[in-house]
C-alpha cells in the first residue's frame, strides 16, 4: 500500500449500484421461475422429439449468468440422419 492509496480510497457506491443492477435483472426474470430450466428442457425435448428420435439422456441444458448477457446452452445429440435414411432404405 502506498501513501496515496491511504487518501484515495475507491468509492464503493458505484460498485454497490452495479452489483444491484446485475443481480436484480436476474432476480426479476427468474423469481417464481426457479423451475424455468426444467420447463425449457421438457419443451425443447418435446419439439425435437416430434421430428427425430432422440435419447433423453443426451440432452444437456446449461445457463450462464453474465454481467450484460446470459447464455442458454442447449446441447442435443441427434442420431445421424444419414444412418437413419440408410436404415430406412434397407
Amino acid at each position: 500500500m502506498n501513501l496515496l492509496s491511504l487518501f484515495r480510497r475507491q468509492n464503493s457506491a458505484p460498485v454497490a449500484r452495479d452489483r444491484l443492477q446485475v443481480l436484480l435483472a436476474h432476480e426479476r426474470a427468474f423469481v417464481g421461475r426457479s423451475d424455468l430450466l426444467a420447463v425449457l428442457q421438457e419443451e425443447i425435448i418435446a419439439v425435437i422429439a416430434k421430428h427425430v428420435t432422440i435419447d433423453r439422456e443426451k440432452v444437456h441444458i446449461k445457463l450462464d449468468r453474465g454481467d450484460s448477457v446470459s447464455t442458454l446452452e442447449i446441447d442435443v445429440e441427434v442420431p445421424s440422419l444419414m444412418g437413419a435414411s440408410a436404415v430406412h432404405a434397407r
Binding site: 468509492n11 464503493s12 457506491a13 454497490a16 452489483r19 443492477q21 436484480l24 432476480e27 426479476r28
Partner: protein
C-alpha cells in the same frame, strides 16, 4: 373515501414503524382522520413508538377473532385527536390473523377514517402479505444499502402480484421513502445516491428522510418526530411526504442535518 396504505420493506430495521408513526401523525396534524394499524403480531412496537404502550387493552387479533369490538381496541392519541392506533397482539402468533377477519376489520376501518395505515412486519410471510392485501397504495421504506434495495425490489414484485388490487388487474400506487440517508456520504460516493436507488427500483419518490439523532430521540420519548420536534429536519421531510401522499406536488429536496463546527467535531451518529 378512505385510502388504505401499507408501509412495507421486506427487510427489518429500515424504519417502517418509525415512518408509519411519523406519516400517520403528519397526516392527522393536517386534519385528516388516521388510524395506524400494527400488523407485526407477536413483535408489536408501534404502540411503543406512539407512546401508547400502557394503554393497550384489546388488540387486532381480539377484533379479528370477534372477542372485542373495534371501538374497544382503538386507542385515541392523547396529543392529536384525529389520530388512532390499533395495536397488534404481543402474545399470539401470526397464524391468529385470518384472511376473512382482516378483510372485515379493514372494511370497518375504511368507514371511520380517511387513512388506514398498515405497518407491515418484516419478511414476506403471512403477516406481511396480509398487511399489503387490501392496500390501495404502498410506501416502500428503503435504506441506501444493497440488502435493503434488493428486499424492496422483491416487495415491489409482491405488491404487483399478491394484493387484491393487483389480482383485479388494477394498479397499486407505490412510493419510495428513502430513510437514514446521509447526503454527505452519498456525495462522496460512499453511499448509494437517491438517483441510484430510484433508477434501480423505478418507483416514484415520496421523500428522503435523513439519518438523524432526532429520530432516535422521538422513539425514546414515544412521540412521532412530527409531534416531538415538528421543526426538525426529519419532521419536515415527513410533513412533505405526507403532503405528497395527499396528491400535492412538493419538490423533493435532499435534507441535510446542519451541524456547527463543534457538532462536527463531537457529534455522534444515532444508532438504531
Amino acid at each position: 373515501m378512505a385510502t388504505v396504505l401499507v408501509v412495507t420493506s421486506g427487510k427489518g430495521g429500515v424504519g417502517k414503524t418509525t415512518s408509519t408513526a411519523a406519516l400517520g401523525a403528519a397526516l392527522a396534524q393536517n386534519g385528516q382522520t388516521v388510524v395506524v394499524v400494527d400488523f407485526d403480531v407477536g413483535l408489536r412496537n408501534l404502540d411503543l413508538v406512539m407512546g401508547a404502550e400502557r394503554r393497550v387493552v384489546f388488540d387486532l387479533i381480539n377484533v379479528v377473532q370477534g372477542d372485542a369490538k373495534l371501538a374497544q381496541a382503538l386507542i385515541r392519541d392523547k396529543r392529536i385527536e384525529t389520530l388512532s392506533l390499533l395495536p397488534a397482539s404481543q402474545t399470539r402468533d401470526k397464524d391468529a390473523l385470518t384472511e376473512e377477519g382482516v378483510t372485515r376489520v379493514i372494511a370497518e376501518l375504511r368507514e371511520k377514517f380517511d387513512w388506514v395505515i398498515c405497518d407491515s412486519p418484516a419478511g414476506i410471510e403471512r403477516g406481511a402479505t396480509l398487511a399489503m392485501r387490501h392496500a390501495d397504495a404502498a410506501v416502500v421504506v428503503t435504506n441506501p444499502e444493497v440488502s435493503s434495495v434488493r428486499d424492496s425490489d422483491r416487495i415491489i414484485g409482491m405488491l404487483d402480484s399478491k394484493t387484491l388490487k393487483a389480482e383485479k388487474g388494477e394498479r397499486i400506487d407505490k412510493h419510495l421513502l428513502l430513510t437514514r440517508y446521509d447526503a454527505g456520504r452519498a456525495s462522496r460516493g460512499e453511499m448509494l445516491k437517491t438517483e441510484d436507488v430510484l433508477e434501480i427500483l423505478s418507483i416514484p419518490l415520496l421523500g428522503i428522510i435523513p439519518e438523524s439523532e432526532e429520530v432516535l430521540r422521538s422513539s425514546n420519548l414515544g412521540s412521532p418526530v412530527t409531534i416531538s420536534n415538528p421543526n426538525s429536519v426529519p419532521a419536515k421531510a415527513y410533513f412533505e411526504a405526507a403532503r405528497r401522499l395527499r396528491g400535492e406536488t412538493v419538490v423533493v429536496t435532499v435534507p441535510a442535518e446542519r451541524r456547527g463546527f463543534m457538532g462536527r467535531l463531537f457529534g455522534r451518529r444515532a444508532v438504531a
